[in-house]
């Protein structure tokens, strides 16, 4: 893979194997009108990485009929195509001819860009104002007096106005929001401190006073905005990376009308009773009943069963299952909003457990902090009033207390650590949805894993290849290359030339297997009872077992294949590391007890529960929670979604179902399960650093506040103290970058991809 490919692409590789080209109708559905009959489609092209790619893609796409223009964005690995007309130009096919995999991407450019753009503008304005005011202040501190000092103060006051209204507005709005709902957040003391400091400084300036705090109030805004922008960029980057993964659920389905017409309708418009065509390789869009056709369904995302299920007409199918081998016509029995998928979302919302009540460390600290600070300032005011009776002096000193305690270090203490930690995880292919997820992960004592797709890859692996005649294996691999069935793919991986005869006609019999003819014989690869029709070995009863796949020549069995569900890379090591970290590990699965027992034994998991329904999983987690445990749920399937929602914190692999990925707090993009102990490790270290940082901020206050209360704080001292404490906190946070993992890393070293300008990353 290219040197500068993003982590997301590895996940695409995993899902890409089962995806089919998005159809023209699907692309049309996902495009948006940009006016004047022009439509825009955004495609994610993960493998684009250099100037030659840009040129090849843009030139090839622009040559297609009806395409107005195409523009590649290399930072986000996306291409935006503008086109007109009813017929969708064949972009995806054109890109595939060039050798680029493309995935449809739902563009949501409008709303998300605004926040980031506003933050960056605010940082720019606040930075400009802080720099200029600080320069003027330096001349005041170095001895400017009289009219010159007043002039400098007036200019400072003038420059501070746009900074306060524009950059400070973000804090004022947030503080007002919190107060209106009867809550306290970090922004309340910031807003109060900044505005009081400005008001007092203005009063001083009018009365030709010595001390003005314009520099303090504006540089405070500047520092805090940097922290906030970094925090936003981190979350946005994780969100776009997760969103950019190819969608597993279809956007629409082919509807067969009574008069034979075919329409492609969005999933939301499908009504019960409609007849839908589901081609091999597509996911079933809504719950339904098969009326024509037979096929194998991959239910691993829905029920956790690792073995595909054979279905024929008359049987019920659930939304979200993947049709593997043959085309099916189904009659919808439920609308999308009543389908299995929607049911899972409802269960998940009902199960919304620990995190709804979780309050972030920063919020908990500030809930205590703000009243204490305001009370201290007020008491200082009363004290100086009582002692001197000089209200001007009392107010000045009280405001100096407010400024010196303004949570500059505290406001940076938490986000800066979380940004550094998130970056550390990002380099290892782990996306964090927000900072509170790391705080919650650091607290867990129980880890619950789903089996299929999480501990295992959900893809069978051929285990007895070495005992099979190489010629037979080569024939089987040639035949298997014609099918999407997971067993076929496992066999096809062993393709190679071993002097096997050339296949002439190959046909797939859904639910049974593949038939091929060579010059002199008929070969069948598939279910034992169907392929070995002359054999008397029986074995037809082995429904769902892994022993029933054979290769037959003219009806006589010549090779039999044994599969097992391959465990994810480093799964055993990851389980071991979690146990070492004092976390008890448990496995919950919808699969059969036999399949679960095998995996549990291989990975060294002591406790497992099998054959669970989705709601059972969530219930099991609630039971653990009630017993006082903090539970981490790691799962990928639709059936895990309620459990992901119920757990204290949750992790999903990038191959998970869409709603699972959206429900989880962390998403890891690489195949290795060592992401889970790594995330735990980094989160715990981040938690430790956050506590250290808060301690630093408190010690700083313990030293500075008495000085302020005694009335010794001048603007110069305030500026030095605030910058010093901020730098201390930032320096402490950056220690996380250099932390060495507790034990030697078992996976490959993290690839050092060049990091792009973080500010412009998500767009």
């Amino acid at each position: 893979m290219s040197c500068c490919a993003p982590g997301a692409e590895q996940a695409m590789d995993l899902t890409g194997t089962t995806s089919v080209l998005p159809s023209g109708q699907e692309i049309r559905l996902a495009s948006r009108l940009v006016g004047d009959g022009l439509r825009q489609t955004d495609l994610s092209v993960p493998t684009v990485h250099c100037a030659a790619c840009i040129q090849a893609i843009e030139t090839a796409l622009a040559k297609l009929d009806n395409v107005e223009d195409a523009r590649v964005n290399l930072s986000t690995k996306r291409v935006a195509i503008r086109w007109r007309g009813d017929e969708v130009p064949p972009f995806v096919a054109a890109l595939r001819r060039l050798g680029y995999e493309a995935h449809l991407f739902a563009a949501e450019i409008d709303e998300k860009d605004k926040t980031l753009a506003e933050l960056i503008r605010a940082v720019a304005v606040a930075g400009f104002a802080a720099g200029n005011i600080m320069l003027l202040s330096v001349s005041v501190w170095s001895g400017a007096e009289g009219a010159t000092r007043d002039l400098f103060h007036w200019v400072s006051a003038l420059i501070a106005i746009p900074a306060l209204t524009f950059a400070g507005g973000i804090f004022f709005r947030s503080a007002w929001n919190a107060l209106r709902h009867g809550r306290m957040n970090m922004d309340v003391p910031i807003a109060v401190g900044v505005s009081l400091a400005y008001a007092m400084s203005l009063y001083e300036t009018i009365n030709h006073g010595d001390h003005a705090y314009f520099d303090a109030s504006v540089s405070l805004l500047f520092f805090l905005l940097i922290g906030r922008t970094l925090d936003h960029v981190m979350r946005e980057r994780a969100r776009t990376a997760v969103k950019g993964l190819s969608q597993l659920a279809g956007r629409g389905a082919m509807v067969l009308r009574g008069d034979g017409a075919r329409d492609y309708l969005p999933v939301g418009e499908i009504e019960p009773g409609m007849h839908l065509l589901v081609a091999a390789g597509e996911r079933v869009p809504v719950d339904g009943r098969i009326i024509r056709g037979a096929s194998d369904l991959d239910c691993s995302l829905v029920s956790g069963e690792s073995t595909p299920k054979t279905v024929t007409s008359g049987q019920q199918v659930q939304a979200g299952t993947l049709n593997l081998t043959g085309p099916l016509t189904i009659e919808a029995t439920a609308a999308a909003k009543d389908s299995f998928l929607a049911e899972m979302v409802r269960l998940m919302e009902a199960a919304e457990g620990g995190r709804a009540h979780y309050r972030r460390i920063a919020d908990r600290v500030s809930a205590l902090y703000a009243p204490v600070v305001h009370l201290t300032a007020f008491v200082t005011f009363l004290g100086w009033m009582a002692v001197t009776g000089d209200w001007h002096r009392a107010v000045t000193i009280a405001i100096a207390v407010l400024i010196i305690t303004c949570p500059c270090a505290l406001g940076l203490a938490v986000p800066i650590v979380q940004v550094v930690a998130a970056r550390r995880l990002f380099e290892n292919g782990i996306m964090v949805k927000d900072g509170s997820a790391m705080e919650r992960l650091a607290a867990i004592d129980t880890a619950v894993f789903d089996k299929t797709g999480t501990l295992t890859l959900g893809q069978p692996r051929l285990v007895n290849a070495s005992t099979i005649d190489p010629v037979m294996l080569a024939i089987a691999a040639d035949m298997a290359a014609h099918s999407r069935h997971p067993f076929s793919k496992a066999i096809a991986a062993f393709a190679g030339f071993a002097g096997q005869p050339k296949l002439e006609a190959v046909s797939e019999h859904p639910g049974l297997g593949i038939e091929a003819t060579t010059a002199d014989s008929t070969w069948r690869l598939g279910r034992r009872g169907w392929a070995g029709w002359k054999a008397r070995t029986g074995g037809e009863g082995k429904y769902g077992g892994y022993g029933g796949t054979v290769l037959s020549k003219n009806g006589r069995i010549v090779a039999s294949f044994t599969f097992e569900d391959a465990t994810r890379a480093d799964a055993k090591a990851a389980v071991g590391q979690l146990k070492d970290a004092g976390v008890s590990v448990e496995m919950l699965s919808g699969d059969t007890p036999d399949a679960c027992g095998d995996v549990a034994r291989i990975l060294g998991i002591d406790r497992f529960v099998s054959a669970l329904l989705p709601s059972d999983k969530a219930e099991r987690i609630e039971v653990l929670t009630k017993a006082g445990h903090k539970v981490l749920m790691v799962g990928d399937g639709l059936n895990d979604t309620p459990a992901l929602g119920a757990a204290h914190v949750s992790i999903a692999p990038a191959t998970a179902a869409d709603i699972g990925r959206n429900a989880a707090d962390f998403v890891f993009l690489r195949e290795s399960l060592s992401a889970v102990p790594l995330a735990l490790d980094v989160s715990r270290k981040a938690g430790r650093l956050i506590r250290q940082n808060i301690a630093i901020a408190i010690i700083y206050n313990a030293v500075a506040v008495p000085i302020a209360i005694l009335g010794h704080v001048t603007p110069l001292i305030a500026a030095i103290a605030m910058s010093a404490s901020s730098l201390l906190v930032i320096g402490n946070a950056s220690r996380l970058q250099s932390f060495v993992p507790d034990e030697p890393r078992r996976t490959a070293p993290p690839d050092r991809r060049p990091h792009t300008g973080t500010l412009a990353q998500p767009s």
């Binding site: 500068c4 250099c50 100037a51 840009i54 040129q55 030139t59 622009a62 223009d69 523009r71 590649v72 964005n73 290399l74 930072s75 986000t76 753009a117 960056i120 503008r121 720019a124 304005v125 400009f128 720099g131 200029n132 009219a147 010159t148 002039l151 200019v155 420059i159 792009t756 300008g757 500010l759 412009a760 767009s763």
Partner: protein, 51 residues
Amino acid sequence: MTILVYLIPVALLAGGLGLSGFLWALRSGQYEDLDGAAERILIDRNERPER
């Protein structure tokens, strides 16, 4: 001290120019694809005018 009367406005104007330049660059989308801009310089634009 009369020098301040025009030096300060000049300094602020220069700073403001830089700030508005940055804001303009931000608004016109120049920060949207930093990697792409670095690579696009290598593309010959002989046949097709770039936007």
